[in-house]
């Protein structure tokens, strides 16, 4: 397992407030990692930094075998480097069909002219069917994404990530608003995906994290508080303090 993403000494300040404070973080490939932490710990901001939405004030963000710096690259460029992201609030293109949503995410050249002259292919269609199967939306392919239930939208968004075939998947609170059955299916999808790539899951729900059965990073006030197995970190007095002490 080699290091795929490495953050070191990263800090971000919003109007004088340090949302990320000297954060260091590493993930290999393949690996499944859960990030937990109280509200406002900086979990979403961490993803914003990696995906180019927020520029850190200091620190390094290195990516891939050659260790290229992600700082200053555009969001689209970072995505093409192989980093996919699922947002906290499900964001799919509601006016378009499930198939069109997945087709847009398919790993293909992204330039305007490539897309303008793009022709549908049998492989592309097969790939869409395969992803739809994985996220349980085979029968909904022709439906408008806006008609899907909340849980199905979350899956569609995860499906779009899978269709992108990224090397690193960042998943922000995927289980929010899901029924227990839906949560279980979501863990299955994520565990399966992490067999071939790096997956970072941010989640509040301890039961969900337990089912992921992976290394856990606890974030608090913008930096790492503890890291290790779930049992290990939940025994850590600092973690207990942060989670239970207030």
């Amino acid at each position: 397992m080699s290091t795929l993403l490495e953050l070191s000494g990263v800090s971000v300040t919003f109007d004088g407030f340090r949302a990320i404070n000297n954060l260091s973080f590493q993930i290999g490939e393949p690996e499944l990692r859960a990030i937990i932490g109280p509200n406002g710990a900086g979990k979403t901001t961490f993803m914003d930094i990696v995906t180019g939405k927020t520029k850190p004030d200091e620190g390094r963000v290195l990516w891939g075998d050659k260790g290229i710096s992600l700082i200053g690259l555009s969001e689209s460029r970072i995505s093409r480097e192989g980093i996919g992201r699922k947002f906290q609030k499900p964001t799919v293109f509601e006016a378009q069909s499930v198939r069109d949503n997945l087709a847009m995410a398919l790993r293909n050249p992204r330039g305007p002219l490539d897309v303008l002259f793009y022709r549908k292919s049998a492989q592309g269609a097969a790939r869409i069917e395969a992803v739809a199967e994985q996220i349980g939306l085979t029968d909904a392919l022709e439906r408008t994404a806006g008609e899907l239930s909340h849980g199905q939208k979350q899956w569609l968004e995860i499906g779009m990530l899978l269709a992108q075939e990224p090397r690193l998947l960042l998943v922000d609170e995927p289980a929010a608003g899901m029924t227990p059955a839906e949560r279980e299916k979501t863990t299955d999808i994520l565990v399966e995906a992490a067999k071939t790539r790096a997956v970072v899951v941010v989640e509040h729900d301890m039961e969900f994290v337990r089912r992921l059965n992976c290394k856990v990073t606890v974030l608090n006030e913008g930096s790492v508080l503890a890291e290790g197995s779930l049992d290990h970190v939940t025994k850590n007095p600092d973690v207990i303090d942060v989670y239970l002490g207030r």
Partner: protein
């Protein structure tokens, strides 16, 4: 050779025999562009029928049902429909509420108008100087043309920007190049800095205002508020009656609208259209999918600007005159109103909106509708038409957000 490859194919299709029914279901059907977009075919048929009908009823065909001036009005309306579908693509599909596309339309008109004026004045000057015993020098001819054209603004020399006006080809190239470059530079600056929404609309209005103010100046080299006139006289065709010229331009406008419609429908089909609509709905998300949103916006902004300019280049020879008032910021706002009333996000909606509102507008403001005498006040439609239009706009926005063309959906849904 062909036999061999044929038999090879038969074998391989046998090999996948058991799976082939599933394969068939998953393979996207390669249907023709028209078959996938039946509305394009319907539109082209309707446009062809309309063009033919108007031609047969025109003075050029020996009938007098449709006057030459009304043929011109209809031809101009087709040009307005063309700029409206461009507006619909940039706003209704891509979500960029540009309030500057009529500026591109006007630039197209000015570009073609410069050649029309130059060539016609040149012919007149040549005629006037023909009687002289000593043949005039090239410089004398040039000076005479310049003082004819720029006399109204107290100048007698050709400004630099008229450098290409002697050549129809070059000036037609300007119809495309100037608005294309302007849109490219403006769009690049605006999109790169991620200016969106109402701020972008304001920026496009500022661009339009700057252009109009520039054109209003007497020393702009474009005759200030006199504008360019006599554009209906086509050099080289002085002997051809306006009845026939009007039909020729009417046909050219119909052709341009048809081609523009097909072009946009083709661009917006399939995945490219999918990405464009996705940018409209959530551009940040499209970025995280790996698409360089700015390039896509720039492509659409520039393409639609060029089409708008072509529409303008066909419009003003039919109007006969262009002046800076035509590119005033309000014109671009009207354009957005037409598209909103017709129904944005569908091309025929823009056509319906532009045709309906602009024809209605010339009917009301042209004195076609009798004034209403209320006893204490008389409603003169030339004054009150805009108020009516404003109310219609508000009414459509509130009660028919999809515009007039969304009524079709209701009809279709009732049938099924």
């Amino acid at each position: 050779m062909s036999d061999a490859s044929l038999s090879k194919e038969t074998i391989s299709s046998k090999e996948i025999g058991p799976k082939s029914s599933k394969d068939f279901a998953t393979t996207p059907k390669r249907r023709s562009f028209i078959a996938q977009n039946p509305s394009v075919l319907w539109f082209l048929l309707a446009l062809a029928a309309f063009t033919l009908g108007v031609t047969l009823l025109s003075e050029a065909a020996g009938s007098a049902v449709i006057s030459t001036s009304f043929v011109k009005t209809l031809g101009k309306t087709l040009c307005l429909c063309l700029v409206a579908i461009a507006m619909d693509v940039v706003w209704g599909y891509c979500g960029i509420l540009s309030l500057g596309h009529f500026a591109f339309f006007g630039i197209g008109g000015y570009a073609v108008g410069m050649w029309l004026m130059y060539a016609r004045t040149e012919a007149i000057v040549a005629e006037n100087l023909a009687g002289q015993i000593i043949p005039p020098t090239q410089a004398e001819i040039s000076d005479a043309i310049a003082s004819q054209i720029f006399g109204v603004v107290g100048a007698s020399e050709f400004p630099l920007i008229w450098g290409f006006s002697h050549s129809l080809i070059l000036q037609l190239a300007m119809v495309i190049l100037i608005p294309g470059l302007l849109a490219l530079v403006f769009g690049w600056l605006a999109f790169r800095s991620r200016v969106t929404g109402v701020y972008l609309s304001i920026l496009t209005q500022a661009m339009t205002l700057a252009l109009a103010l520039y054109l209003f100046q007497n020393d702009s080299g474009l005759r200030g508020n006199n504008g360019l006139s006599g554009l209906q006289n086509i050099p080289g065709f002085e002997q051809v009656p306006q009845a026939q010229i009007s039909i020729a331009f009417f046909w050219a406008s119909a052709l341009a609208l048809g081609l523009g419609y097909v072009l946009f429908a083709w661009v917006l089909r399939g995945k490219f259209g999918s990405v464009i609509r996705a940018i409209r709905d959530d551009e940040a998300r499209v970025r995280f999918l790996g698409y360089h949103v700015e390039s896509y916006k720039l492509f659409i902004f520039t393409l639609t600007a060029v089409i708008a300019a072509i529409a303008g280049a066909l419009y003003y020879p039919q109007a006969g005159i262009i002046n800076p008032g035509e590119v005033a910021p309000i014109a671009s706002i009207y354009l957005a109103v037409w598209v909103a009333i017709g129904g944005r996000g569908r091309l025929y909606g823009a056509v319906i909106g532009a045709a309906f509102v602009s024809l209605l507008s010339s009917w009301f403001t042209g004195g076609g509708v009798p004034a209403i005498d209320l006893g204490f006040y008389t409603i003169q439609w030339t004054d009150w038409w805009l108020v009516l239009l404003g109310f219609s706009f508000v009414a459509v926005t509130l009660f028919l957000p999809g515009g007039i063309s969304s009524l079709f959906d209701r009809l279709v849904r009732k049938e099924t």
